[in-house]
Symmetry: C2
Subunit: 627 residues, 2 copies
Amino acid sequence: MASYHKPESKTIQELKDIATKLRIHSVRATQITKSGHPTSCSSMAEIMSVLFFHTMRYKVSAPRDVNNDRFVLSKGHAAPILYAAWAEAGLFPTSELLNLRKFNNDLEGHPTPRLNFIDVGTGSLGQGLSVAAGMAYVGKNFDKSSYRVYVLVGDGESAEGSIWEALHFASYYGLDNLCVIFDINRLGQTQATSLEHNMEVYRVRLEAFGFNALVVDGHDVEELAKAFHEAQNTQGRPTAILAKTFKGRNFPNIEDELNWHGKALGANGDTVIQHLTSLLKNPGPLALHPQKPLVADAPIVDISNIKLSSPPNYKLGEKIATRLAYGNGLAKIAANNSRVVALDGDMRTSTFSDKIRTVDPSRYIECFIAEQNLVGVGIGMACRDRTVAFVSTFATFFTRAYDQIRMGAISQTNLNFVGSHAGCSIGEDGPSQMGLEDLAMFRAIPGATIFYPSDAVSTERAVELAANTKGICFIRTSRPETPVIYKNDKALAIGKAQVIKTSSKDQVLIIGAAVTLVEAILAADELAKSGINVRVMDPFTIKPIDAAGIIKNARETGGRIITVEDHYPEGGLGDAVLSAVAGVRDIIVKKLAVPVVPRSGPTAVLLDAYGISSRSIVTAVHEILKL
Amino acid sequence: MASYHKPESKTIQELKDIATKLRIHSVRATQITKSGHPTSCSSMAEIMSVLFFHTMRYKVSAPRDVNNDRFVLSKGHAAPILYAAWAEAGLFPTSELLNLRKFNNDLEGHPTPRLNFIDVGTGSLGQGLSVAAGMAYVGKNFDKSSYRVYVLVGDGESAEGSIWEALHFASYYGLDNLCVIFDINRLGQTQATSLEHNMEVYRVRLEAFGFNALVVDGHDVEELAKAFHEAQNTQGRPTAILAKTFKGRNFPNIEDELNWHGKALGANGDTVIQHLTSLLKNPGPLALHPQKPLVADAPIVDISNIKLSSPPNYKLGEKIATRLAYGNGLAKIAANNSRVVALDGDMRTSTFSDKIRTVDPSRYIECFIAEQNLVGVGIGMACRDRTVAFVSTFATFFTRAYDQIRMGAISQTNLNFVGSHAGCSIGEDGPSQMGLEDLAMFRAIPGATIFYPSDAVSTERAVELAANTKGICFIRTSRPETPVIYKNDKALAIGKAQVIKTSSKDQVLIIGAAVTLVEAILAADELAKSGINVRVMDPFTIKPIDAAGIIKNARETGGRIITVEDHYPEGGLGDAVLSAVAGVRDIIVKKLAVPVVPRSGPTAVLLDAYGISSRSIVTAVHEILKL
């Protein structure tokens, strides 16, 4: 280990003063807005002081520089002290801190990447560590660079299972460039945390999870500086600094007291500021400045304009599962861009994310059965445009990470989700494995793009489009083999539906996707025998949905639409189509969807039993023609 | 500790034979259906044999008897061996096992409570332990009964954070009536688990999490029997039995080999069955039978017909937050029924679940910041109708437990969810704390009932109705104070909307709830000044939605509807209304909703900025009148 040099006493005093200044800023800002979490800020003031003015290496003027050390504030409610640290470091005037929580000011109640020094939004607890682990994985394995990743976790949020998923991931992959600091201030919102100040339990648990675990006095800048030095010089495993702290530290009559969570100090504010000010040995300008990165060894990468290495290569009518086509598409874009990576939760042979390993095994990251961490790591890996990441599992298991996905939207992440085994068409495994609410879940994510490709050709194109589309993308794939319906050179676009079957005498527009598109085509053929012509449409994307195309075709078919989807009736294709035509008079829509929790059984039996087979569509056409 | 008597050698041999029989059943059933997880069954055969024929006490003829020991198979994919154990115990003929996974047979791919010996559906991994902990909490603290709770967890799923949340909960509350068995068979679906057979790491982690941790040879029935005895006699903390096992145990050329997850044995089936049969020392009928409960000490409880202890008591126009009214209603039903309980994740002073503590502190269960476990424990507490449980946190944090909620529907749970802090109306805390996708999430749950009460009176009635409604109920509450609009004796019903403002000249129907209903009323008053009359409706429940009432009122108002909701545009009130009118020609709908990730700011500013204020409604009315 590089030998440790105790900081000069002048430095130590200045770090103490900075901590006090950060406390003062946190109190002042929350006093003005009359809300926020000053006591949660105060417990971590020395940690922030030492990190930002002694340990971390970063360019204040370029917070997103790829060579900077990263910092994630997992306990996002302590945002005021994070803002204060960057202001004191010199990024913006400290006077700006007083605009905390004002509408249209980016210093929001919890941090978001609207600020250039924030990589991910936090505020839903227990998520920062997974993100930090994703960043550290990239730093160690893809960037192979010197930057380090720091993440500050609250003791309250350490009850979240996602924290333990992430700890296990970090130690399993030996992420020694990751340092997690637990701010153990004993108090939650409504009562003491379950472990209070039982530091030994924390130490034993962190050691058991493979960390170099160091217990320190979190208000002692010297102990902190020494622990961070040890973390920097520990190889092969990540370090956890377990900082014993007090909530509301140095706030007279408030420190370590209950009932002070999440509120401004009110009438106590002046006394507290007065007391804090009295603690400053040197209230003047800072002599200490943040340290710049020692080397600029992170590579320049280009993740723009990603293309399939070769066009889709299928035969019309050939039967291929869209999940397999996902794997093919993934491998093709991975062959063309070294920053395409895939993550999965022990499902790679079912989702076919496996295929990326044929191109480069190192670009597959096994996250085991821990979907929250899978998604969090993916968000971390996509940060600062370091990778184009695809995370996959069964569509329904993304429900496990809905909070992470929701926060991903706030984080402006560019992560691609691929959910296989959509709907009851998976068959015998039964309802626990069927994705029947995934479209509802992703549709309610602002800015998300949802692909529901119906064949292998369009699936490969969906992968290519997703790789180049900002924001959250979701690709829904199916287990059964379905026929190829598009020529290999078919041009497909986001928000553009395709008419699959049409005549001038069509009386109904049927919209289906994947297995239900197949059923719709069968129904159309069946109906044609009795002289009823229907039009069949593949939406390709569910969000955005091709409103103009749907309205035009609905008007040409008597204003009658039938949607048919392998999904519950709420929030999916049917609701998307209803929204598209909501403002047009004289269009009616009949939704066919899975109405109840399905049973186990063969695919064809289930599609028919739950009313989304060709037989059900034929019946629905007869019914809608009578309305 | 009660002294341990080694079972007679005849018993030991019979337990071994039963394990072999269970293996044979598992192989035979999956051979016929050509799918399933025989190797995952085989690793746990001795565990099942000892539990079901030596350790557990239960009435085979009455699987849901309240005095029975409980068993939860967290690794639900091993369903065939669970079915086999009950068949061998005598509940149904073993020949029935061959109907595994057939459509309309209840022996599904993963267990569901369609079977009378299953309390909860499993199959999404990592959830069984929370449920079991909830059952054990009830057994210890409310039933104060002798029954014990056993849960079998796979090693693959022990990577799920929810497992570690549940472990912490169980040890924190000293649930010594809980025994968790880890079936550590080394292999996941696609590769070895991260910890393989590193038993010492498991032991240290479980001890660190407060368990009595016992490492055993999971194929040695005698070691297992002894460990279960120790678990039964350990007080003050739960026991974890860490069973070292082999996947595909006793399947020649398959045992401990990769690539045998989740598939029938195909051409190897006959050889395997032949080999297993050769291991049977006594292939004839069983001499061993399950043990009945020693005592019947679980109380008879009545959770039917629950009423508020006194009617709502508010003044018209008085401003009360619906979240506070939830607390009032909860306390009132708790006063009337001793089995009403409330669980929360360190938010009780914000959600007002706190109020139950004024009635009986013991009926509040603090689950700390671990929402997956919060929901899982709630499902466990509601099992077998032992309690009427309400779980609460911020509406948006239920996204953390969407997988548990989804599985709750499969589990036919009767759990009540209360999500506070709906929408951007929460103000300065910012988007991470705002419930903007909760309606979409719960609408896509089959059979769910969704209440979105608009004032204090209707909130108390929603609580009362939810307590008496089977299935999943969700009550959405708001942070700001809103005026009381209903008289205290107002009759409210599920699926019945209320018209709040009406005239014979209404030109538009406006549907809003809570904060947006207030805005709708303001807009109506404003529009009336310029001679435009609009009708205002409170839907009360979003699922089921009052389709007949909406269609009738829409027809009376020119077929024009405006929905206004503090939620993202997808999956919420607007989509519910669209679905209600989908089949009616000549009705148009304009959805007002929060279109983007909001910012921090004052409530009124945010409602206006995101287009759901009275001003936006007035504009929308003018627009829709032009269509």
